[in-house]
């Protein structure tokens, strides 16, 4: 057996498995009016046909990933595990892209044979109420908790600066061995609090993206979709706050480790590395399955069915994945495939902001490895 089943490779495989599961369940999470990035109306196809497309996608995903797995096994005999792992991840992304796009194009062709007769309607809400009661996002003041933890990191490091050893331990392996040390300096001592603060800011940014995004309603069921969308936004806004708190706590522990106030025991290191990641990935999957995109999987009393069609905005959705609409002042809109939001690539400011965010993340990665 050439694949060493030590803790590192086991971890890697578990993550790959989660990624695969996530890719496979994506079709089940979309809004009911959207199928593989194409907006469909009831009259265009029946449930059976819709399911057919979903199973086609899953079959392609399974088959191609299985082939990839074989290459993984063969490759692990000749190449280092990290390299093979990277190739597999990239391969899985391409496979998923291919599976999705091929089915997307088939659905698109199917739609062309069924012109819509009902008037194309857009329904919007001017308030954020469910049954007359306000239903806003989770209060932004909850970010105060991770903020306080972060502030405490700074204060603590500053207060005990003298006590911190001259050599900071900055990299560990899962056995508790120190892999790298750097000379103490203000920049290095406060690096983790800086990164923690930046991570917090990223989550605040995500919170705002949710807040600013449009509440997409279904013209056939305006009140039902309104309730779904409002609950969906609130749940995910609360999630950003919770994740920010968990990550800040992790950074707090890491900080203690680096400045020497905590022992580099195997258990501790494994816990810091694994627990937050698992919580985030697991909560993401569970929550995505619970809510569905736009709240499509939430339990809501449904009785409406106005004989209308939603506005056919397929033209703005390139490959059903990229939203490009210069007329629309929105920065972010709900994704069509998957759970979450995506940038309006037709909005110049949004694109600049997006590019800046990526540049920032790359810059941080580079700075922290120095």
């Amino acid at each position: 057996m050439y694949i060493n089943l030590n803790s590192e490779s086991t971890l890697m495989f578990i993550m790959l498995f989660f990624v695969f599961i996530l890719m496979g369940i994506l079709p089940f999470l979309s809004r009911k009016e959207i199928l593989f990035g194409i907006r469909i109306e009831k009259e265009m196809m029946d449930e059976q046909t819709m399911k057919g497309y979903t199973y086609k996608y899953i079959r392609r995903l399974l088959f191609l990933d299985a082939v990839l797995l074989i290459f993984l096994y063969l490759g692990s005999m000749h190449f280092p595990l990290e390299f093979v792992y990277t190739v597999v991840i990239i391969g899985m992304i391409f496979i998923q892209g291919f599976s999705y796009i091929s089915v997307h194009l088939e659905v698109k062709r199917h739609k062309e044979n069924f012109p819509v007769k009902a008037p194309e309607t857009v329904v919007v809400t001017t308030d954020e109420k469910i049954n007359g009661v306000d239903y806003p996002l989770a209060s932004i003041f909850w970010f105060g908790i991770p903020l306080i933890i972060n502030a405490y990191m700074y204060i603590y490091n500053a207060l005990i600066y003298q006590e911190i050893p001259e050599q900071l331990k900055v990299a560990f392996d899962f056995n508790g061995n120190i892999m790298r040390m750097v000379a103490k300096s203000p920049a290095k001592v406060f690096m983790i609090p800086h990164i923690s603060l930046l991570t917090l800011l990223i989550f605040v940014f995500v919170y705002y993206a949710i807040k600013m995004s449009k509440k997409q309603l279904d013209a056939r069921k305006p009140n039902e979709s309104k309730e779904r969308v409002l609950r969906f936004r609130r749940i995910w806004s609360a999630w950003t706050i919770l994740m920010a708190t968990i990550l800040t706590t992790m950074f707090f522990m890491l900080n203690l480790l680096v400045i020497g106030k905590m022992n580099e025991s195997k258990t501790f290191i494994t816990l810091i590395a694994i627990v937050p990641t698992f919580i985030i990935v697991l909560s993401l999957i569970i929550l995505a399955v619970y809510t569905g995109q736009g709240g499509s999987r939430l339990k809501v009393r449904s009785d409406e069915d106005f004989e209308k069609a939603n506005r056919n905005d397929d033209a703005y959705w390139k490959l059903g994945m990229f939203y490009v609409n210069k007329e629309d002042p929105s920065f972010m809109v709900e994704k069509r495939f998957g759970v979450g939001w995506t940038i309006n690539l037709g909005n110049r400011k949004a694109v600049i902001g997006f590019v800046l965010a990526i540049v920032l993340l790359i810059a941080i990665s580079i700075l922290t490895s120095i």
């Binding site: 008037p119 857009v122 809400t125 001017t126 308030d127 506005r311 629309d328 002042p329």
Partner: protein, 126 residues
């Protein structure tokens, strides 16, 4: 409050927006002093250019139905008599068109008045 816009209709969107806002005010869904979404917000929600929403809001403002409050943005004005000469002319033409067809189809005065009364009350006028 939910606004509905028909993109397949011949009626321009900015007129539809104006109509929907007036409908909301008439039926009480939007009350005096209540804020409307900003031009950008509404344009973003609908997914159209801000100019279109601006046109609708400008016409509503020009006719005195809404005003721009420094803090709250576009706000519904208090209901008062806004019956102008220009409006009466438009009303006259619209009603004439409605009555012409009704008369041709044999609707009596009583039947027509009953329909009008019911509709007016249903919307919320007094």
């Amino acid at each position: 409050m939910i606004l509905e816009l028909n993109f397949s209709s011949e009626v321009p969107i900015f007129i539809q927006i104006r109509q929907e806002v007036l409908r909301a005010i008439a039926t009480g869904k939007l009350s005096e002093g209540e804020a409307l979404p900003s031009v950008r917000q509404l344009a973003s929600e609908i997914g159209i250019n801000m100019h279109t929403v601006n046109k609708a809001y400008s016409s509503l403002k020009a006719d005195g139905f809404i005003r721009i409050d420094r803090r709250k943005g576009a706000v519904v004005e208090e209901k008062r008599k806004l019956v102008t000469e220009a409006y009466l002319k438009v009303l006259d033409t619209d009603i004439e068109n409605v009555f012409i067809e009704a008369i041709c189809r044999g609707l009596t005065e009583e039947e027509m008045m009953a329909i009008c009364r019911e509709k007016y009350r249903k919307i919320g006028g007094r």
